[in-house]
């Protein structure tokens, strides 16, 4: 057990040095060498920043889709000359009735794998919709798979828009990830006041241009909308002249004539054409600019605007005009987003946490080292040396994988320092016992290592299992803890079985005949 071949010694030394070097790259700034320019990432709790968990409110999307579906279903059967009656939406279900003779035809239409009305997903062996019939009352609803597809697609759209909006603000290295099928996680390092981002993400930014009507009758229907000030109201046609989709660009600008901040926009070809036509017909009418169901302003059309560009005024400050332009440029969210979890840490608290963590590490380390030296003398020194190497290798591995270090992660490292000596203690205590019945130092050391092995392995596996469960169940900072704890187990076993054993081996073979060796 105590013998190491030269090759093995060389291998262990090289491996150790490489990890130590990798760990040291955290101290050097801007080095170009590819292996050594890796760094440990600091978690949001250490470097400061904002963590936001957004949930997509899919109800309006589903509502809208069902609305469209009702029209589709009605038209579909009308075309085929199949009478269906009383089609309506109740509680996110479409209901209608039909006569007995049409019953089977309708059922067949919904169950046809090549149906235009009800798309079939061969991959999931499922239709988009499910049809249920009881006594000629039909109920149409999204299937499980249909709902999932719908949610995933709205999540895909939403994450794209969220990314654009955050990129527009220009925070450094945002981390935007999907969570489940209706959530988006946003991590914004270095951002200590997420107020602006929160307000930008909280807006759907659904922009429409619609005429204000006096009469309550309009072929497209009308609705009563409030102005931004929540007081004034106007009746607005449901007919959409142009929407946010038609925008090519939007920018905040100072109107030189009125000295007011406005948002100027330019339209795509289709939008420009429609805008030109509408403004030529609607001279003298009020055109309402509606954002998320509220009227920003409703200027009177004075001229035909054929250039495909225009401006929105609405008593903006420069900031609010900038934000509106940004929202319009990045596009509308498919559905409203709710912030269901927010954690923000200021940079100075992060720095305080780093300092406290480092002090605790230094003190914990110092206490353990002193204790081990007092208890085991020369073997204590070996353990302490191993402990330092262990710590460096641990940092090296975290650096190599560019792991994220969190405050609980630092706690995990400190805990590793306390627990890493366990394996050495188990071995040394065993050797002491063996020496009671064994005069040959080398044999006693050998059996000390061999006999303590099962206990060491079992004991470490239990801690490792706990760390693995934490890794999969925990979030953010806690995950950081499970990483350092788990990696710490491997590095401490490596350093105990290779480095410490090599050193004890060297020492024991030089002091073969010394009494009371340990």
């Amino acid at each position: 057990m105590l013998y190491f071949s030269k090759l093995r010694i060389l291998f262990i030394s090289i491996l150790t040095i490489v990890f130590v070097l990798i760990a040291s790259s955290n101290l050097i700034k801007n080095n170009e060498d590819s292996l050594f320019n890796k760094k440990i990432n600091l978690g949001l709790d250490l470097q400061g920043g904002s963590y936001l968990l957004l949930e997509i409110d899919n109800d309006p999307v589903i509502e809208q889709k069902l609305q469209n579906l009702t029209t589709t279903i009605r038209n579909y059967f009308k075309e085929k000359d199949i009478r269906i009656n009383n089609i309506k939406i109740v509680d996110q279900n479409i209901f209608f009735n039909a006569s007995e003779q049409n019953k089977q035809i309708i059922i067949d239409v919904f169950n046809d794998e090549n149906s235009d009305l009800n798309p079939y997903y061969p991959r999931f062996k499922s239709h988009q919709l499910i049809l249920e019939e009881t006594e000629l009352n039909f109920k149409v609803n999204f299937s499980r798979q249909g709902l999932i597809t719908l949610k995933t697609s709205s999540q895909d759209q939403a994450i794209e828009i969220v990314r654009r909006r955050i990129d527009e603000i220009g925070t450094n290295e945002p981390n935007i990830l999907k969570r489940g099928n209706n959530r988006i996680l946003v991590e914004l390092p270095g951002l200590d006041d997420p107020m602006r981002i929160k307000s930008l993400l909280g807006k759907t930014a659904n922009l429409t241009f619609r005429f204000v009507t006096k009469s309550k009758e309009d072929t497209f229907g009308v609705e009563k909308l409030k102005y931004e000030n929540d007081i004034d109201e106007a009746i607005v046609s449901k007919r959409i002249i142009i929407s946010g989709d038609n925008l090519l660009d939007a920018q905040p600008r100072m109107d030189s004539q009125t000295n007011e901040t406005v948002v100027s926009f330019s339209l795509d070809r289709v939008g420009a054409k429609r805008f030109g036509k509408a403004t030529s017909k609607g001279i003298g009418k009020q055109l309402a600019i509606v954002l998320d169901g509220k009227i920003i302003s409703a200027p009177v059309v004075r001229d035909t605007i054929a250039s495909g560009s225009g401006q929105i005024s609405g008593g903006f400050t420069f900031q609010s005009a900038t934000d509106l332009a940004l929202l319009l440029r990045s596009g509308a969210l498919p559905a409203p987003l709710n912030i269901i979890e927010e954690r923000t840490v200021g940079p100075d608290l992060g720095q305080d946490s780093i300092n406290a963590g480092m002090i605790a590490l230094a003190i914990g380390f110092f206490l353990v080292i002193i204790f081990m030296f007092v208890k085991y003398k020369i073997f204590g020194l070996i353990t302490n040396f191993t402990l330092i190497i262990n710590l460096l290798i641990l940092l090296g591995i975290l650096t190599l994988f560019e792991a994220t270090l969190t405050l609980p992660g630092i706690a995990g490292i400190i805990l590793t320092v306390g627990m890493a000596v366990d394996a050495n203690v188990l071995i040394f205590e065993r050797i002491k016992e063996e020496l009671k019945n064994e005069n040959n130092n080398i044999l006693a050391f050998d059996s000390g290592y061999t006999k303590s092995r099962t206990a060491i392995i079992d004991a470490n596996i239990t801690t490792l299992l706990a760390a693995i469960i934490l890794f999969f169940m925990g979030s953010g900072p806690i995950k950081g803890f499970s990483i350092t704890l788990g990696v710490g187990i491997f590095t401490s076993l490596f350093s105990v079985y290779f480095i410490a054993r090599l050193l004890t081996g060297l020492y024991v073979s030089r002091h073969k005949n010394k009494e009371r060796l340990i």
């Binding site: 204790f371 206990a455 239990t462």
Partner: protein, 295 residues
């Protein structure tokens, strides 16, 4: 050699009592869940004006219509921790509070940390925390069962239950806050306590194979004594590390390290006085381990 076995019955009685008291506390008093598990808003404030104190802050916050607000000092004299339910779920509540505070106290506050957990998320976090702890207990049970015999497995799990329940009992008794990091601490306690038990069990098994004429009552005592110095040294170094975190690691890690310190103490105790007594009560003998070797 210390006669640990003389006190097996006494300490079994005390442990049962501790578990019962803890369970009563957990059922009737319950745990003080933080916003992670209850939902709500937390703000860590630092004021630059020494004249501001807890009661003036508390007065101000209670005027803000936030529901049940708790205002506490947090570490430093100038740091405060404010928690409230945010029942109306106002999105821009933080900005309102900021403006309100600036109006009454002047621009003297630094918002060092803000956490806002919605009711849906907190329910999920609680659920996953409970799953994590149950899963870890199940995994440990399974691991010991494949590595040792079932009697050992039962002993180890009883010891684990004891550690987890009594640690939570202490948290309930002193009304200490349970947050995400406490769950991490409890899981680590599970790992640590298991680690400690496994080392002693490993020795018990070895001694069972070695001596056929020593009764388990004696044999556990021998094994505990043989591994005693390791038990003491490892718990000592682990406690050193944890005490360093508790006293110097900052306010945020206080609860975490306290839970771990309690866990290490209970874990060390339970490895000796619960895990082993189960072996004695189940009359484990050489046959138990040899039968397994024949397989």
């Amino acid at each position: 050699m210390i006669s640990f076995n003389k006190y097996y019955n006494h300490f079994n009685f005390i442990s049962s009592l501790l578990i019962i008291i803890s369970l009563i506390l957990l059922i009737f008093k319950g745990l003080n869940f933080g916003i992670d598990f209850k939902g709500g808003t937390l703000i860590e404030l630092r004021s630059s004006d020494v004249k501001i104190n807890v009661s003036s802050l508390r007065d101000k916050f209670s005027q803000m219509n936030l529901g049940d607000v708790s205002v506490k000092k947090f570490g430093n004299d100038t740091d405060y921790l404010i928690k409230f339910e945010n029942k109306d779920k106002k999105a821009n509540i933080i900005e309102e509070i900021k403006m309100n505070l600036d109006k009454s106290f002047g621009n003297n506050f630094d918002f060092r940390r803000v956490e806002n957990v919605g009711p849906k998320v907190s329910a999920e976090l609680l659920k996953s925390g409970i799953i994590a702890i149950s899963l870890s207990l199940a995994v440990m049970l399974f691991y010991i069962w494949i590595r040792f015999e079932w009697q050992f497995s039962l002993g180890a799990i009883l010891a684990l239950f004891h550690d987890v329940i009594v640690t939570l009992g202490v948290f309930s008794l002193f009304n200490l806050e349970i947050n995400l990091s406490i769950i991490a601490a409890v899981l680590t306690i599970v790992g640590y306590s298991m680690n400690d038990t496994v080392v002693i069990f490993d020795r018990v098994r070895e001694n069972l194979r070695k001596y056929s004429d020593i009764k388990i009552y004696e044999l556990t005592n021998i094994s505990i004594n043989e591994t005693l110095s390791r038990t003491i040294i490892t718990s000592a170094t682990t406690l050193f590390a944890l005490l360093a975190i508790y006293f110097f690691g900052g306010e945020i890690l206080k609860g975490f390290s306290l839970a771990m310190i309690l866990g290490v103490v209970f874990g060390t105790y339970s490895s000796i006085y619960i895990a082993n007594t189960v072996l004695v009560r189940l009359k484990v003998s050489q046959k138990t381990v040899l039968r397994d070797d024949d397989k």
